[in-house]
Symmetry: C2
Subunit: 259 residues, 2 copies
């Protein structure tokens, strides 16, 4: 089994958690004591990871929040990735996608240079922009399908996201390491998507700050094995007064929904 799936399935079985913790540190929102630290982002991430490592099914840093600080930010990301315990899978939220030889370069950046277990990809440029990532058989790729933001109305709805979903299922059939990003703001549509993408993992942002609906989303997203989904929370956990309590609350709510 591929490395990402092996790790994430272990976390789900052993830790009973479907919670993906989004590591998206925004300097202006960090508590004062971290803003004054020598390495604010790294120190903050270490604090979040220490607090949540028994509760997280995976961690998901979004590259934007590191790139915005230039080389120092990317060094903080690399150090953060080294700090995450090896048994917890890492999804690098990158939303990449380019022509074939360029997607090959991005795949190397994410899976080899940063050493992430999984990535998020944007499907606009079609199959040859995605398959260079899927060629990394030990890694996993989540392709944007129906996103959590308002702009999902502009192009994805009413039909494009279903066409993308059908392609994702085809890539999953061929490569076995392709899932979808679907937003918790669309529980109705997720039910239909689970009929197209029957088994593969859904990465689900949009609960918390974005106002997604957890109960309907989990019911619609789970596969026949009562698994196959990861509920991401970034701001809802990392800026909570007690990040461990916020992660545990989400973990428990999800488990109640699938029991």
């Amino acid at each position: 089994m591929n490395k990402f799936l092996a790790k994430v399935n272990s976390r789900i079985q052993e830790k009973k958690t479907f919670v993906c913790v989004g590591l998206d540190p925004d300097l202006e929102k960090l508590p004062e004591k971290f803003r004054r630290a020598d390495e604010p982002i790294l120190e903050f991430n270490k604090y979040i990871i220490a607090a949540t490592q028994d509760l997280a099914a995976c961690y998901k840093p979004n590259l934007a929040f590191y790139e915005m600080h230039g080389l120092a930010g990317l060094k903080a990301l690399a150090a953060t990735l080294r700090y995450i315990p090896a048994e917890i899978p890492v999804i690098l939220d990158a939303k990449r996608g380019d022509i074939g030889n360029t997607s090959q370069a991005y795949a190397k950046a994410i899976f080899t240079e940063f050493g992430a277990d999984a990535a998020t990809l944007s499907p606009y440029m079609g199959e040859d922009s995605i398959t260079p990532f899927l060629a990394y058989k030990e890694n996993y790729s989540f392709v944007l399908c129906l996103t959590s933001n308002k702009g999902a109305q502009d192009f994805q709805k009413p039909e494009l996201y279903k066409k993308v979903a059908a392609k994702i299922q085809g890539w999953q059939n061929t490569y076995g390491n392709c899932g979808a990003v679907v937003g918790a703001t669309h529980p109705q549509e997720i039910r239909g998507l689970r009929e197209i993408i029957t088994e593969a993992f859904f990465l689900i942002p949009g609960v918390g700050a974005q106002g997604g609906e957890l109960a309907g989303t989990v019911q619609a997203a789970r596969n026949k094995q009562n698994s196959g989904f990861l509920i991401n929370s970034s701001r809802g956990i990392i800026y909570a007064d007690d990040p461990a309590a916020a992660a545990e609350k989400l973990r428990a709510e999800i488990n109640k929904l699938i029991s």
Copy 2:
């Protein structure tokens, strides 16, 4: 007038060039003497820039080819950007796009940290993924519309790219700094796109290694001012035995087509 447009229009008028030089260095393809250098990518880029700086309307480094080498690659990119003469605009080919607060972070990375004049963006996530970039009024954004690769058939055709084009024209009307990426492999469709996006710049990859058709593309892409397009060549120039001659040949071919 916005900084990118001022620079690129000056280059077009003063240097009579519509050539965008793609700085996509692939270590394995570099001439032996650069591969043995202390900083292969930076040294190679300096050689290309020195050879083409009187012929380039702009430079377009694709972030993937730097990210694939981790922090060392991004340092080489930063040094490359410092080396490019200030009067030549830089498009950072990034194909970014994410939810609003994350696109804000990417825009800061590209326009402030790297200091690029322009960026390429992916529209899959819709308007709120694009407007944080357009809010940088001195910068310019090229949104993927109809790309040069085979995968353009998967989702962009037959209708999506026209819907995206209509949005691009709307964003251009509102912000004045939004163009489109259209591939030279679709000269017929570019004619229709120029009717939707009447004035804004088209960034056109796909000549050279990807087999696009130059004459039909230029005829279809130019706006009523006989301008409004940039023809990118990456591999066709940077790996030529004589990059200056290759850039000059492309420059002259384009000028002949619009005279």
